[in-house]
């Protein structure tokens, strides 16, 4: 599997799995919709590859008519007309993610006096979901019950890092077809800049390496890229995150 496919497939796979609902919505399965209004996971259009102008306009029309969600994550092709057509129709890019990959079979050496480990019990899962909701999810709360169910089904592992018995940092690993996707790397606002995010991430990667996984992917904002580059992740692809202004 090439690196870009590995990165996109895990991203879209995680969103399909978390939302529990997925259906094609465009040409040749390059466009899918996940989630539903009011569901446990936000509803998104997920897309990859170049689209023709008339294909984009058809999707835009469906968004305007509320037949498709207002949020769209698209794997950006090298020459992409998506931005201009979407902008002309009131759909703005509100963020850009870098799809990154790390191939590693040796664990990281971790030396510190804090505890980073996998979370498997309910009350810690609630703390984990609370921290992620505050620091990452912005205007939406993550349902701890949903996270616990995913973890119990075995496709997802969640990790936390504690300092003086307080949960300070989190991450989640989603495993599909031998690739471990990293999500929700988050640190409490007042504990940032002290290496907690790096430590919990490396700890999660080490746990996966001990189970034979050696390919790790993630999708970084500009804020997180430096941390991931320092660990050894390489940029491979970009994603545009689009929103039709004013629609929820």
């Amino acid at each position: 599997m090439n690196d870009i496919h590995a990165i996109s497939d895990n991203l879209f796979g995680f969103y399909r799995y978390a939302s529990g609902i997925s259906q094609p919505a465009g040409p040749e399965d390059r466009i899918q919709v996940v989630g539903s209004p009011g569901g446990p996971w936000p509803s998104y259009i997920l897309g990859k590859g170049a689209l023709k102008g008339n294909e984009v306009l058809a999707l835009v029309n469906d968004i305007k008519e509320d037949r498709l969600p207002a949020f769209w994550i698209h794997e950006l092709a090298s020459e992409n007309e998506l931005d201009s057509i979407l902008a002309e129709n009131g759909i703005r890019m509100m963020n850009r993610w870098s799809g990154m990959i790390l191939k590693r079979n040796q664990p990281f050496e971790l030396k510190d006096d804090c505890i980073s480990r996998e979370i498997t019990i309910e009350n810690e899962c609630e703390q984990w979901a609370g921290l992620v909701s505050r620091e990452v999810m912005n205007s939406r709360s993550l349902d701890p019950g949903m996270v616990l169910r995913m973890q119990q089904q075995g496709r997802v592992k969640i990790f936390g890092r504690w300092q003086e018995e307080e949960l300070v940092s989190t991450t989640l690993v989603f495993i599909e077809t031998g690739v471990a996707g990293i999500y929700f790397v988050a640190t409490s606002k007042d504990r940032r800049g002290k290496g907690h995010g790096t430590a919990v991430l490396c700890s999660a990667i080490n746990a996966c390496i001990s189970e034979g996984l050696t390919t790790f992917v993630l999708h970084a904002t500009s804020m997180g890229k430096g941390l991931y580059n320092r660990i050894g992740f390489a940029d491979k692809v970009s994603y545009g995150i689009y929103w039709m202004l004013g629609k929820k």
Binding site: R92, N138, S139, S222
Partner: protein, 78 residues
Amino acid sequence: MEDTRDRVKQIFTKLFKDEAEITDLTHSSDIKAWDSLNHMMLLNDIEMEFGIKFSLDEILSMQRFGEICQVVDQKRKD
């Protein structure tokens, strides 16, 4: 420019309806309603008010009232 701050402040007040004083240091974390979606709406309204366009980097980096006014002033001069 003199009227930039007043016009941007009006857009803030209309969108966030926040009674607290808005200063140059007012940060997105200081106003509860100033989340990522309302940030896009805010900047879109500012673009329309002044006939300017923000780049994605500018959209992501401007998180204070003063920073926004500064960038708007720069674009009005260009």
